[in-house]
């Protein structure tokens, strides 16, 4: 299935793009997006990343569906 991956702040800078389209098997979960070669640059950041699925925080093992949007969120610093 095709999944859109949005990248912000340090994740965007590490990958060098604001978003990436990823093809994953039907049984894939949110954290499986990190298997995408173009996201290899995130290895160092991975432990501190949080995931969002369709604009809601999501657990790494949350199941994905065709067309879902996953966002990789480094530690936030708003306010």
């Amino acid at each position: 299935m095709k999944i859109s991956v949005l990248l912000f702040a340090s994740a965007r800078e590490a990958v060098g793009a604001p978003s990436v389209e990823v093809a994953l098997p039907a049984s894939a979960t949110v954290s499986d997006v990190l298997r995408e070669p173009r996201l290899a640059g995130l290895a160092g950041l991975a432990p501190s990343l949080r995931f969002a699925l369709n604009e809601e925080f999501a657990r790494p093992d949350a199941p994905l569906r065709e067309g879902d949007v996953v966002a990789l969120l480094p530690p936030v610093s708003g306010g």
Binding site: F8, S10, V76, G78, G79
Partner: protein, 128 residues
Amino acid sequence: MEILLTREPLSLDAACRAVRAPGRGGVVLFLGEVRPEEKGKAVSSIEYEAYESMARKELERLAAGAERAHGAAVAVHHRLGPVPAGETSVIVAAASAHRAEAFAACREVIDRLKESAPIWKASFAEAR
């Protein structure tokens, strides 16, 4: 409740007006300002980036939670894009009949915003 994500300078009066109402005798406002120095380095401005659609949802969720928990009206105004040192990056306003609830709601929202709103800052020592 009012959530505002904007690239324009924030307005104290606008945030206050968003929560004031006849029965609400206590209004508390928190302003976050860009400090001209951070960790010993001079800062000329801070760039705020947001996952805007999710940030709006998160802020609505936080504000609604505080409104229910404290019986207050809440507004959150956050500025995005470049914010010069000395200017305001965020305003949280809370109003209720009495001050205890207004203080509690305001504090809760700014604390939680800093934990979970998908907003990031990149400070710039010199003008970009």
